[in-house]
């Protein structure tokens, strides 16, 4: 008797990809970072004496539920508490779902509440709410250890991570594409006029250079291509670090030049999801005095940190780095120092060490 083995269909292969277990560490880290960002987002609502319907507002739909004033205010405070609990990782699933529900409810109360940064926050919270992102970096995990219970698996089907990666790239791609397709933007008229309109806020030396229209013929294309490069470059391992490095500059520049609420901090925080979703697959040997510091900064759990007499780093592909190249490589993989260290990986000495 023979058994026909059918090759999996495209749908089957895609389902296998979505279900493949990967580390949820980056989403756990993003959850921790998202808590304070939600507080920043909610603060203008919480600190105001007024609520949305005391003045002009516009519901998206007549059937959308609106609560009495006291209930609405209590909901916002509950959202703030849930955000803190979410960041701590205590009853993580419930706290994250509650945070998402309240932030989303508030966003959809009125068209006047809508801003791109808030929409992005709702998307991020939605993904965190469905992902098992409370099994590490959380009070829940600490309580399990304390009770002597076995740790829950730190891997899980990767589809929430892939979905958030798509959304992240979509934000940059949609923004860049809309500018690319607009002749006024791509030709430089829009950025030039925006700077001219803000001329009074510029430093004294700036106007002659920054209000030169010819400058924006090239600058506009640079801005548009930067956004599109981030959207595309994040997907390839060859260009990912460059895209992340550029994205950080992009967000800092926007923060300095425009009022974008939480967009900059959220945009930079979400970049952690582009780390390869596997953990402890590199080894770094450092002086005993530095072990705790390296472990403390290794938020994405990329290293097994071991004490030793001299600095040594073993990469995933078994490449061994020592001395300065090892230090620079280590710093380039720690979230807090990565942006500063990544350009140093282009140094000939580091490149040579990686090849040998």
């Amino acid at each position: 008797m023979t058994v026909a083995v059918r090759a999996p269909s495209v749908v089957g292969r895609f389902d296998e990809l979505l279900g493949r277990p990967v580390s949820m560490r980056s989403l756990a880290l993003l959850r921790v970072l998202a808590g304070p960002i939600v507080l920043l987002h909610l603060w203008p609502f919480l600190s105001s004496d007024h609520i949305y319907r005391d003045a002009f507002y516009e519901p998206y739909a007549g059937w959308y539920p609106e609560f009495p004033r006291a209930v609405y205010i209590a909901l916002l405070w509950m959202g703030a508490v849930a955000a803190v609990v979410m960041a701590l990782g205590w009853f993580t699933r419930v706290a994250t779902a509650t945070t998402f529900a309240i932030v989303a409810y508030n966003l959809f109360l009125s068209t006047t509440h809508f801003h791109n940064n808030r929409a992005y926050l709702v998307i991020v919270l939605a993904v965190l709410a469905v992902a098992p992102c409370g099994r590490e970096l959380s009070v829940d995990a600490w309580l399990r250890r304390r009770r002597g219970l076995p740790a829950l698996s730190l891997t899980s089907p990767g589809w929430p991570l892939w979905l958030l990666r798509f959304e992240c790239a979509a934000v940059y791609g949609a923004s860049g594409m809309s500018k690319l397709l607009d002749p006024d933007w791509f030709g430089g008229t829009v950025p030039w006029m925006r700077v001219v309109q803000a001329r009074d806020e510029l430093p004294g030396w700036a106007p002659s250079l920054l209000t030169n229209r010819d400058f924006y013929t090239g600058a506009a294309k640079f801005i548009v291509l930067t956004e599109l490069f981030i959207a595309v470059g994040l997907w390839s391992r060859r260009t990912r670090y460059a895209a992340i490095w550029v994205a950080v500059i992009f967000h800092v520049s926007i923060q300095l030049s425009a009022n974008v609420q939480i967009f900059s901090v959220l945009g930079i925080a979400v970049l952690v999801i582009w780390a390869v979703p596997s953990t402890r697959d590199r080894v770094v040997v450092v002086d005993e005095r530095w072990v705790a510091l390296v472990r403390g900064l290794d938020w994405l759990a990329r290293f097994r940190v071991q004490p030793g007499s001299r600095l040594e780093l073993v990469d995933r592909d078994s490449t061994v780095l020592r001395g300065q190249p090892a230090l620079l490589y280590l710093l380039s993989r720690l979230p807090l120092t990565a942006w500063f260290a990544l350009p140093a990986l282009l140094l000939p000495s580091v490149r040579r060490a990686r090849r040998t």
Partner: protein, 136 residues
């Protein structure tokens, strides 16, 4: 099931991005800093006896800047940048006219609100439009 849910989210997101090119509010379309357009409007109350009274003057215990605070709409007579684009800004202005018409019950003389809007789409020549609230 998992594939269907994933693909649905992706398609819905792409649909929002596509719809952003024709919708006023560009919800989930992520079109950032879309224009350098500006606008200015003279907003008046048109009363039952035909008078046209600027809303910058308080009426029946109401003030425009209290009814429409915290936005570029608060002082429409001043030329403003349309942060999220002209379509978005003028859609808000039309909604604000209707909102004020519906939320000023002590006012028994205003028939409708009218905005004569001058808008400059980027560096295009100015365009003049007139918006009216619903008749009260």
């Amino acid at each position: 099931m998992r594939v269907a849910a994933f693909v649905t989210v992706v398609v819905v997101q792409l649909a929002f991005i596509g719809a952003g090119y024709s919708s006023d509010h560009k919800t989930f379309a992520f079109q950032m800093f879309p224009e350098a357009s500006t606008w200015q409007a003279d907003v008046v109350r048109v009363t039952d006896d035909g008078r046209r009274v600027p809303v910058s003057e308080p009426w029946a215990g109401y003030r425009w800047d209290a009814l429409v605070p915290d936005s570029a709409l608060t002082y429409p007579e001043v030329r403003h940048h349309a942060d999220a684009g002209l379509d978005n800004q003028l859609a808000f202005l039309r909604s604000a006219l209707n909102y004020v018409a519906d939320h000023t019950p002590r006012d028994h003389e205003t028939r409708y609100y009218e905005a004569r809007v001058t808008s400059w789409h980027n560096d295009d020549p100015p365009r003049i439009e007139v918006f009216r609230s619903r008749v009260r």
